[in-house]
């Protein structure tokens, strides 16, 4: 039963909180390293509500891209959250406000556990339990990160610039474990690699979404080969 309806135990909650704490700290330290004031870094993170979009935005700005190229790349990267919401909302109890509240807080761990519930009555409750664990780490993390941002010093020397891509890889690992997800991911990476030297900054990330076509073809071939 427990396998069918995963619930977050105390140890899992603590690990999730610690994960989001460290993600919050590193995001704020990066923002401040890239020139944001304390207030700007705190506002950006709490208003945008998506670390992935901020990573994508900063990556394009670091590559010399303009503000709008970086914004579009950040918006495309946020598609992940819209897609998480498509999976979550139909499983929630009726009620526009309840559904909207859950929808805007859709992240990977809470949606993953909520949609695995077989008992419909538990979907919403488990969603908010996981969310509580995440936020229990996230909010202290962004406060601590904002406060220590100026004293960390050269973040590249500490290898913190490698933390963000590693964190993103860990977050989408579940998607890459399926054949079509891996095909789409590799195709997106190859499109980006091919375009970085020739296209304006931001464009490689935006056009990488066409890697989905390769993922779909991979699925068709898999289906075709299954008797």
């Amino acid at each position: 039963m427990t396998d069918e309806q995963p619930r977050l135990g105390l140890a899992d909650s603590a690990a999730l909180a610690l994960t989001f704490f460290s993600l919050g700290v590193t995001l704020q330290v990066l923002l401040i390293d890239r020139g944001a004031s304390l207030w700007n870094a705190l506002t950006a993170t709490t208003v945008i509500w998506s670390a992935t979009s901020q990573f994508a935005y900063l990556a394009v700005r670091d590559a010399g891209g303009g503000d709008w190229a970086a914004i579009i790349a950040g918006a495309v990267a946020a598609s992940r959250f819209g897609i998480l919401a498509t999976a979550l909302v139909p499983r929630l109890p009726a009620g526009t406000i309840r559904r909207a509240l859950a929808s805007v807080n859709a992240f990977d761990p809470n949606v993953a556990i909520a949609v695995q519930q077989r008992d419909e009555r538990r979907v919403e409750r488990e969603f908010w339990r996981v969310t509580a664990a995440m936020f229990g780490g996230w909010f202290p993390g962004i406060v601590v990160g904002t406060l220590v941002g100026n004293v960390v010093g050269d973040i590249d020397r500490l290898g913190l610039d490698a933390v963000f891509p590693a964190a993103l890889l860990s977050i989408i690992a579940g998607l890459l474990r399926t054949g079509e997800g891996l095909a789409a991911g590799v195709a997106g990476a190859v499109i980006c690699l091919a375009l970085i030297p020739i296209a304006p900054a931001g464009v490689p990330i935006i056009l990488s979404m066409f890697g989905v076509g390769i993922g779909v073809l991979a699925t068709r071939r898999q289906k075709g080969s299954t008797p």
């Binding site: 945008i48 559904r99 891509p165 970085i196």
Partner: protein, 100 residues
């Protein structure tokens, strides 16, 4: 981040979540083929963001300490290591190689 970036990204993020939940979700529930294709978008786009963060220096492709950190992270993710182990190993590998 610029004010326009904060506002525009907030609209994009909050808007896509609400649009996904209330508009796209019900459509996809009736079209499983489309739902599967849409579900693959994050794999492609986030991998591109990872490439940009770990292999680009401006508009030049570079192989440096970050990629070594990512290689270690990739192995750990593949072996289902916990999130913290992945990011700490990536940072230590990158910082260690830079210190040499």
């Amino acid at each position: 981040m610029t004010t326009s970036a904060i506002v525009a990204l907030a609209v994009a993020v909050w808007g896509q979540r609400l649009l996904g939940g209330f508009v796209v979700g019900p459509v996809l529930a009736r079209r499983p083929g489309l739902a599967q294709a849409v579900g693959l978008v994050p794999a492609a786009v986030v991998m591109a963001v990872i490439i940009q963060l770990s292999m680009a220096d401006g508009r030049t492709l570079v192989v440096d300490e970050r990629l070594a950190g990512m290689a270690v992270a990739g192995v750990l993710v593949w072996r289902r290591a916990p999130f913290l182990a992945v990011v700490v190993a990536a940072a230590l590998t990158t910082a260690g190689l830079r210190a040499i």
